[in-house]
Amino acid sequence: MTGTATKVATTTKYMSWLTLALMTTSSVASLRSAPTMAVYGLACVFLYVIPAILFLMPTSLVAAELASGWQGGVYQWVSEGLSKPLGFLAVWCQFAMTIFYYPSLLAYVASTFAYIIHPSLASNGLYVAIVIITVYWAGVYVSSQGTKTVAGLSSMGLVIGTLIPGTLLVVLGMVFLAQGNPSAAPMDSSHLLPAWAGLASLVLIVNNFLSYAGMEMNAVHVSSLKNPAKEFPKAMFLAMALVLVIFILPALAISWVVPAASLSLTAGVMQAFDAFFGHFGISFLTPIVGIALVAAALGGMLTWLAGPSKGLLLIGRSEGYLPPFLTRLNKHGVQQNMLVAQGVFTTLIALLYAFIPDVSSAYWILSVITTQVYLIMYVLMFAAAAKLRRDEPDHPRGYRAPALMALCVLGAASSIAAFTIGFVPPSQFGAGSPWVYVLIVGGGLGIVGLLIPYLFYRNRRDSWKFAVPEGQQA
């Protein structure tokens, strides 16, 4: 490789474990989902805690052990534990999953801005297009400036847009109850569990495992830590705690004050926040919190732009799976061309999503396909962790997860359950035949999760290989 491809600047500065913890939290948690889950009242605790035990805990602890022993992300772990082709499959699955995340996020950003400035803008095509294109490409530019820039902005986004407003929501919610007001959502023991509506409830509970998807994603930046073996597990533990608190407490606080079933769900996130602040006579805070929520969403977007594509880049370079044009680095050592290629694709999907009637229904089916693909990565990760513990018990690890084998079984079983439930048609599929849905999801899964990575693997070339510096493996 010539030119910018090999001229990567070197700095001796490291990222702190606290920054990595905030970055991880930012990529997984936000207040965006609080009104949606407030609809379930006290049962939202169950809907977050059960998936935390069954999925968040195994994922986080296993990723902590793997990252403390093998520098890098899922590619390195699965390659070492299982095989290189499966390592590529794992990192591809992680990357493919992100593509369908951005359209709904960008639409959310556009509608939140519109709510604050003028609600009618939300249905104005030109406005929506400008927001989507500007925000996304600004994100691509920031991501191309290196991991430290991304880490700084995503951490700030988390503090400004999630931690501060989240604390405000919880404090106001407690004030509301302390004033003697009855909670809008019943808080007695009979409401601890969500309503049981058969398959629909099972879909909700099991799909909530995916609320914690991505806890392992920032392991790709583990080489940025000074002492990864000790610091990465610390970052994971703090992120786990923050994610749980951010998901549960603000959702509860909203359910105390606003009967969410009446105002929040299809009316939109901002409407619920407005009703909440309206109760306290501080509606002027709604636009400020709206901007803060947008900041948090963008911070989360940056981490996802920077993480998985970096994993794919490094395996692309070390094994020759991707053409050199895509794996070329800019002067900050960032996979700029890959970000741009991804950006063109994402912008197109986002614009179709926001402009073409009925595309949004199709979009959610595609979104299911990519989360199905992501679950393959988790199964591979748990299998690799179990095999590495069995085959290389003495390999130095900064952190050894307790009962790792049990965690791997639990995590893999949860992933398979979420995978299976992905074949149940959601609301957005309407009255279509369930079998057609199964065929679409199964076919898409075959194409995105197996055929495309197979084609990359089959067309790999030795001439596309480039040395990856020690400590930077994905």
């Binding site: 600047a9 700095t11 989902s33 909530n208």
Partner: protein, 145 residues
């Protein structure tokens, strides 16, 4: 990152620019946020909606909370439900509790969509048919208590 980050001064400029933009947008929001509150019309409409929700057996917010949130025109609830972006927003709200890429569609609760239908019927009845047509394309269930 141990390799390749943007130099400190450039990073500082990116942070400052981002901060300034956020403050500017927040100020614009403060000055342009048009919530119509506590007008007679808003309170009358809110009372109507409150009564309809109670009659339908749904949880009803206090009248003043409804008036604050929906004003006298229904706010964002009364945006054209047949618009692709509004439709996309509705569909995006029927998902699990994820805030990241793990966001996945679920089978939505019927109660909430009924509450929105009552809201539209109260504030912008001319939009109701579009919304009901949209609801017809969704499969819903009783997943909330």
């Amino acid at each position: 990152m141990t390799t390749g980050d943007a130099p400190d001064h450039k990073r500082r400029w990116i942070y400052i620019t981002t901060g300034v933009l956020l403050v500017v947008f927040a100020l614009i929001g403060l000055f342009t946020f048009t919530a119509i509150r506590e007008t007679t019309q808003a309170t009358t409409k809110a009372e109507q909606l409150h009564d309809k929700l109670v009659a339908a057996g749904l949880p009803a917010p206090e009248v003043n909370v409804i008036a604050d949130a929906l004003g006298d025109d229904g706010g964002s609830v009364c945006q054209d439900p047949s618009s692709p972006m509004i439709k996309a927003k509705y569909q995006a709200s029927i998902t699990n509790g994820a805030a990241g890429p793990g966001q996945r569609p679920v089978i939505g609760p019927r109660d909430t969509t009924e509450a929105v239908a009552l809201t539209i019927a109260t504030y912008c009845p001319d939009r109701l048919q579009d919304y009901l047509s949209h609801l017809d394309t969704l499969k819903l269930d009783d997943t909330t208590k």
